[in-house]
């Protein structure tokens, strides 16, 4: 088995499992070839380091931290929304009322179902009309 074949063989076995025959051939080649020995050593070292990282256990309080963070964010959101929404709602209501007023005012009276004031009545000067109070006292 030459080096290229050996390394290909090794790569095609992600979990490092080989048949006993292949294992014997690999071991025999490793005894003879310095480069492949070095390659094998690197491979084993990488596996050892990965295995050590894999064995690390997560902090047992992680779930508590997660739940606390979710709660904090929800409280923050609840506080934040009314804080922004209250003035926004006031501004929107005022703007809406003004808009409706302008809109109502700009609609012709006929369309609103109100009988239009005759021209002669609209020319009456209210200021010169006699007061009802005065008539009553007379």
């Amino acid at each position: 088995m030459n080096c290229r074949l050996y390394q290909k063989e090794f790569d095609s076995y992600p979990d490092g499992r080989h048949s006993s025959l292949t294992k014997d051939r690999i071991e025999s080649h490793l005894r003879e070839c310095r480069d492949c020995r070095e390659f094998y050593r690197i491979q084993m070292l990488a596996e050892k380091l990965i295995s050590e990282e894999k064995q690390l256990k997560v902090n047992p309080f992680l779930s508590t931290r997660v739940m606390q963070e979710i709660e904090n964010q929800e409280v923050l959101t609840q506080k934040w929304i009314p804080g922004i929404l209250k003035p926004a709602l006031v501004v929107l209501s005022v703007a809406g009322a003004i808009f409706l007023g302008v809109l109502m005012g700009s609609i012709p009276a006929v369309n609103r179902g109100i009988r239009p004031v005759p021209l002669e009545l609209s020319l009456i000067n209210d200021a010169r009309l006699e007061s009802v109070d005065m008539l009553a006292t007379d």
Binding site: F39, A46, L49, E53, K57
Partner: protein, 191 residues
């Protein structure tokens, strides 16, 4: 209680069910994050962020795949995003931390401990220099012991593509490990 049952309860507002879900999957997510970050504190912070993201987007989980597959996808994307956020900063941080944050070493000899730490940093640099897809396939295979079929489902690729990614990842990792200069023990031997 099964995952779909828990998810239904969570969506109905039962927060305790989410705690159960976190406890069930926290080790899985943490291990995946460790594969990318190689640092306990970063991996734990990222795990926490991932679960918060999961809580917010749980209503978008359609149940077409297993919950764990969906969770792996989120974990992988979040890890890659975290590394992409500031690659230069991450490299310097990883280099700084490599001297103080290493897996447990059962050695008494200070020189052996030093070599082991340098080996860890050496391997991390090599893994981090792999292209994103190769790194993801390698981490899911080596850290999570997932089959090529499971990796294919998570990465939304064919099994053949994953096999090829794993093959290239190992070949590139070996090249990087052999070409990154002298190995730690060789440097110490000369001293």
């Amino acid at each position: 209680m099964t995952d779909p049952e828990l998810i239904t309860l969570i969506l109905q507002g039962d927060r305790d069910s989410f705690r159960i879900l976190v406890e069930r999957y926290q080790q899985l997510v943490f291990r995946t994050c460790m594969g990318f970050m190689h640092n306990r504190e970063d991996a734990e912070d990222l795990t926490q962020d991932i679960f918060i993201q999961v809580y917010r987007s749980l209503s978008r989980f359609r149940g077409e795949s297993a919950f764990s597959t969906w969770l792996y996808r989120i974990a992988v994307n979040a890890s890659l995003n975290r590394l992409r956020r500031s690659p230069v900063k991450m490299i310097f941080e990883a280099l700084d931390r490599s001297a103080i944050s290493v897996p447990a070493i059962n050695e008494d000899d200070p020189e052996k401990i030093l070599i082991s730490r340098e080996h860890a940093a050496w391997l991390r640099r090599a893994v981090n220099s792999l292209p994103g897809n190769q790194r993801t396939a390698l981490i899911l295979s080596q850290y999570e012991d997932l089959s090529q079929k499971e990796i294919a489902e998570i990465m939304m690729k064919s099994e053949g593509a994953v096999e090829s990614l794993l093959f290239r990842a190992k070949r590139n990792l070996r090249k990087r490990l052999s070409s990154s200069g002298k190995k730690p023990e060789d440097r110490h031997r000369k001293k």
